[in-house]
Amino acid sequence: MAREFGDVIIDLQNISLRFGGVKALTDISFNVREHEIRAIIGPNGAGKSSMLNVINGVYHPQEGKIIFHGQERQKMEPYEAASQGIARTFQNIALFKGMTVLDNIMTGRNLMMKTNFLHHALFWGKAQREEIEHRKKVEEVIEFLEIQSIRKTPVGRLPYGLQKRVELARALAAEPNLLLLDEPMAGMNVEEKQDMCRFILDVNDQFGTTIVLIEHDMGVVMDISDRVVVLDYGKKIGDGPPDEVKNDPKVIDAYLGTSH
């Protein structure tokens, strides 16, 4: 897959993150280019999820710099990351359990909604117009991910695979330019995985969204990603195009050679 990519969107430099004595990430550097699909792989506990949490401000690394759109980023809270166009899904589904599919996805648009609670209390006029306008956008996302038939279902009642899809929908509703996906296909059957792959590629292709993806299934990673970062025990042990990484002896040793 030789594709052309744009500028570096986010450049992570020498990131180290500790939890007490646990070194989750040690001196990690890599970058993500506009429009690419960047995979992060590595055994369990390697620090992949922590890496995403650093990118969108859930965790604050003790050391290292983050250059975002060419500027050094100061310590940033998750909502600020969201307002700068970073959206994500979680390894363990993090949907709003008490709400319907539609409401979950509508919540993804909250940053673009300008009315306040007083408008909402009165509902007529401005608030209603805004609600309808965003509902239209959300319906586009619903159609895109082919979940029309479940829009009014409480998310708690959905099977696992569909919940994952709704979580993707909520992230897409925010129209992000950087989308972080934490094991979007874990626990899915082959068919569901194929669907999810197709959606990820379509998002990347149609909306030009840059994607950082954590995935265990090597087949999937090799198929859809442009470049791969390999982590092991919080350290980076490989970085490059999939076929290059696949044949790197260090990577084979640490990751591919073992149980995975």
Binding site: E77, Y79, F96, N110, T115, H120
Partner: protein, 355 residues
């Protein structure tokens, strides 16, 4: 006519967003309002108005306030009665100290006082959750009542902090009779319930529920936890405050700070547990249940075993039944009576065809 949406197509998102998407529900709501506004004042006697309907409406409003905070935004509170006290004493002082202030303005300002105090006592929610937050709101409960008793200014230096509500007159209409008090209470409560319904079905409510269901995910999609929680505290306390003022002006007439005690806060909490956590209608069902239960049990006792059981045993039995019901709902139907109603409707939607 069957109860279902078949044949009632939603041609636009606007229609899809209505409060009552099913026509039978719309008709039911309008009929209920017609009954409450136009029929009840003529058929209900003084006892029903004063001892049942007015308190049910007022406690329903307080329960709705708590439901906004606990049921929708997921922040447990044991301070509802104290916020009612702020509303009552706030309104009283505005009425007392500003000559000719319209009652509804004083009511609004009293509610805003409660909202401000609510924000203050909501600050701990930024650091602590669940049980620990409940303990922090308990502090609010005791502290607020203590302040109102301690500083005579709040009750215009009356003995032991008792205040007597001024007469209410709106645009020359006197609200002295039970019927008029009922109508004013009903109007305020219905308007505020509709406003609450609008809030919870729009982005405001979605943010509350997002914070309730999964705060990390909420933050990651751009919801500011601090702002959202404090907003819920403010609006919830505003509702409790207005309920407290109505409690003083439309229900009892004379109140003291210690009347708004922990016991009352717990009763409001039980209302939402029994009525339905996260349901506006449930708040009122719960309030009706808890206000009417003693009345009902009383009648039941007197007409059955009343003659053989001493009065103190009877009142203890009441507490036991009350406790048993709470436990029943916590275990069997945590979503309360409103949920049972919802399930019945879901069944009805399919009836008479099982699938």
């Amino acid at each position: 006519m069957f109860y279902r949406e078949a044949g009632q197509f939603k041609a636009s998102y606007q229609n899809d967003q209505q409060i009552f998407p099913i026509r039978q529900d719309q008709i039911g709501f309008i009929a209920l309002m017609g009954f409450l506004f136009l029929v009840v004042p003529f058929i209900a006697n003084q006892y029903w108005l004063q001892a049942v309907l007015i308190p049910v409406l007022i406690f329903g409003l307080a329960a709705l306030g708590l439901n906004i905070l606990t049921g929708y935004a997921g922040q447990l509170s044991l301070g509802s009665a104290a916020f009612m006290a702020v509303g009552a004493f706030g309104t009283y002082n505005f009425m007392l100290r500003i000559d000719g202030i319209p009652f509804l303005v004083a009511l609004l300002l009293g509610g805003l006082c409660a909202a401000a105090i609510g924000i203050l006592f909501g600050l701990p929610s930024l650091r602590i959750k669940g049980f620990y937050l409940a303990v922090a709101t308990l502090a609010a409960q005791f502290f607020i009542v203590w302040v109102l008793v301690k500083f005579g200014w709040f009750s215009n230096y009356s003995s032991s902090g008792v205040i007597t509500a001024q007469h209410v007159n709106i645009l020359g209409v006197d609200f002295r009779s039970p019927e008029m008090k009922y109508l004013l209470t009903l109007t305020v409560v219905v308007v505020m319930a509709l406003l609450a319904k609008n809030m919870v079905r729009s982005s405001t409510g979605r943010k509350w529920m997002a914070v309730r269901d999964m705060d990390v995910a909420a933050e990651v999609i751009g919801i500011r936890l601090m702002r959202t929680k404090l907003q819920a505290f403010a609006i919830s306390s505003f509702y409790c405050g207005v309920a407290g003022a109505l409690y003083a002006y439309m229900y009892l007439g004379t109140v003291e700070p210690e009347g708004f005690n922990l016991d009352m806060s717990f009763r409001i909490l039980f209302m939402i547990i029994i009525g339905g956590v996260g349901s506006i209608m449930g708040s009122f069902i719960g309030a009706a249940f808890i206000v009417l239960l003693p009345v009902f049990l009383n009648v039941a006792f007197h007409s059955t075993i009343g003659a053989y059981v001493p009065a103190d045993l009877a009142s203890n039995l009441e507490l036991i039944i009350f406790g048993a019901l709470i436990i029943f709902f916590l275990i069997v139907e945590p979503h309360g009576l409103a949920r049972l109603w919802q399930l019945t409707k879901e069944k009805l939607r399919l009836w008479p065809f099982p699938h």
